[in-house]
């Protein structure tokens, strides 16, 4: 036993010396903390969504995130339409934190009167200390239901419940590199039960790229882009690109952004036709997020 302690203290001193050489705070106490505690990364993003895509962030258990998403019309419509502000489409969303690693939510979009619901599970949580995990790994699965009277929109094709449905499955690999910078990558599969013709794939594969760069404690630049791999007809311009700022004010998070995406759920913004950035077919939009504590926290 004595021997073990002796070796351990020797190692401690050695590593303390090493870390002192690296110019860090080499006090033995902080070193102990680093080795035996588990420091889980939080606040990689300000909310569970980057802009459109799910982020590597989860809701705390017992909380509900009430989200109001707005997208205005095309900026290219000009002054008569007040650069698109005369039109708006929106999504109302309710997301719930169930356990630290599990959340679920649902929402309703005005576009196609679509209802969507999802389950999000954190498989790995980026952390330092006792366990070193360099990134977070998150699984999201969701389902969308088109609520239009005639969702297919073609004469002679019967409307069945199955033909209203779409699904998406997504893996998010994200890392908070520093207090300022977070990046994430999200391979996604979007399935539509029915498509317009034989050439349009039922299974659309896509990769999302999202990130955040924090300027100050309350202000950050966020972006997300989704590259669809087997879209028909191939058109890069439809890939949704959103650029925005996150502003945190007390209990609210405001996300103000410009995007060519029309829809606000995974099926809609990845598979539907979006505008062309180069032609100014972009929309101003904002997401408003307010988190409520709905289950009392145990202390």
């Amino acid at each position: 036993m004595k021997r073990i302690i002796r070796i351990a203290s020797f190692l401690l001193i050695l590593s303390a010396a090493a870390s002192a050489q690296n110019g860090q705070d080499g006090s033995l106490l902080s070193l102990l903390d680093e080795q035996f505690s588990l420091d889980r990364t939080t606040n990689a993003f300000k909310s569970p969504r980057v802009i459109n895509t799910h982020s590597m962030e989860m809701l705390a258990p017992g909380t509900m995130d009430f989200r109001i998403l707005h997208r205005f019309g095309d900026v290219s419509r000009g002054g008569y339409e007040l650069f698109g502000l005369d039109q708006a489409s929106m999504r109302l969303g309710f997301d719930f934190g169930i356990t630290p690693n599990l959340m679920a939510g649902f929402g309703r979009s005005t576009s196609k009167k679509e209802t969507d619901a999802f389950v999000k599970y954190r498989i790995l949580w980026q952390s330092k200390g006792r366990r070193n995990i360099p990134f977070s790994l998150i699984w999201v699965s969701g389902m969308t239901i088109n609520g239009l009277h005639d969702p297919v929109g073609i004469e002679g094709v019967a409307t069945t419940f199955g033909r209203r449905l779409g699904y998406y499955h997504e893996v998010i690999i994200g890392r908070k590199f520093s207090e300022r910078l977070t990046l994430q990558l999200s391979p996604t599969l979007v399935h539509n039960n029915i498509v317009a013709n034989i050439l349009v794939p039922n299974d659309l594969f896509a990769v999302g790229f999202g990130g955040r760069f924090k300027f100050t404690k309350r202000l950050a630049l966020v972006w997300d882009y989704t590259y669809a791999i087997n879209r028909f007809p191939a058109n890069l311009n439809y890939n949704p690109l959103s650029l925005g700022v996150d502003i945190e004010t007390g209990g609210h998070v405001f996300q103000l952004h410009f995007s060519n995406a029309v829809g606000m759920n995974e099926r809609a913004y990845i598979t539907d036709e979006n505008g062309n950035w180069l032609k100014g077919q972009i929309r101003f939009g904002f997401n408003l997020s307010r988190v409520f504590q709905i289950v009392k926290r145990k202390i």
Partner: protein, 218 residues
């Protein structure tokens, strides 16, 4: 919540989703007709002066007739391998080149479906479309103009001061008589569409019926 409880929720959810997941597409029962669907797209969008008509034959492509279209750049049955399709969806500078617009998704889809079905010389009578009772601008007239005229009279720089991007532009040529004069090949008007056959009597009569009704924006 423990993991066992979670399964009570997850299992029915998995069942529902796996039962409801299907894989369907809308089948086009009429099929793509080369003469009335595909040829006008090529003629209207690709055969401008200096481009792929039978005189200029840019890059060796002449897109004015069935024989010349299938002779080069079309692999029947495989649209992805067909050079003409690849040019239409090329990243960066797709055909038709600027200042003309990229073809619409519907037009690209029509061409790809036609190639996939074997790139045959199919003809359909368009009597089914020949309904002159109350033809609407949005569903009947505009698609015809889109197919036959917008290659030149659309996009970012419409030719001859005739802009069919908007209803207002169409209405202007209805008022000054140019639209009917051109498509009926009346003397004193330039015969349209260029490098292509005259519109069918059916299409002309449908457009005439719409104009007689006051050319409404409906």
């Amino acid at each position: 919540m423990n993991i066992k409880n979670l399964w009570w929720w997850a299992f029915p959810l998995l069942c529902i989703t796996s039962i409801t997941c299907t894989r369907e597409y809308v089948e086009d029962l009429r099929g793509v007709c080369f003469d009335s669907d595909v040829l006008p797209i090529f003629q209207s969008n690709c055969t401008q002066s200096g481009c792929h008509n039978s005189q200029d034959r840019k890059e060796g492509y002449d897109l004015t007739s069935y024989e010349s279209i299938v002779s080069r750049g079309i692999v029947p049955g495989d649209y992805k391998a067909s050079k003409i399709y690849k040019a239409l969806v090329a990243v960066g500078e797709p055909m038709p080149q600027s200042p003309y617009n990229r073809l619409t998704d519907a037009q690209i889809t029509t061409i790809a479906l036609w190639i996939k079905a074997g790139a045959a010389h199919t003809t359909c009578s368009d009597t089914t479309l020949c309904d002159t009772s109350n033809p609407k601008f949005s569903t009947v007239v505009s698609p015809i103009l889109q197919t036959y005229c917008n290659g030149c009279h659309g996009g970012t720089s419409p030719l001859g001061n005739v802009d069919y991007n908007t209803y207002a532009g169409v209405k202007a040529t209805v008022t000054n008589g140019k639209l009917m004069g051109s498509i009926k090949h009346t003397s004193g008007f330039s015969a349209m569409p260029q490098n292509a056959n005259k519109l069918s009597d059916c299409k002309i009569s449908v457009i005439q019926a719409w104009i007689d009704a006051g050319a409404p924006n409906n």
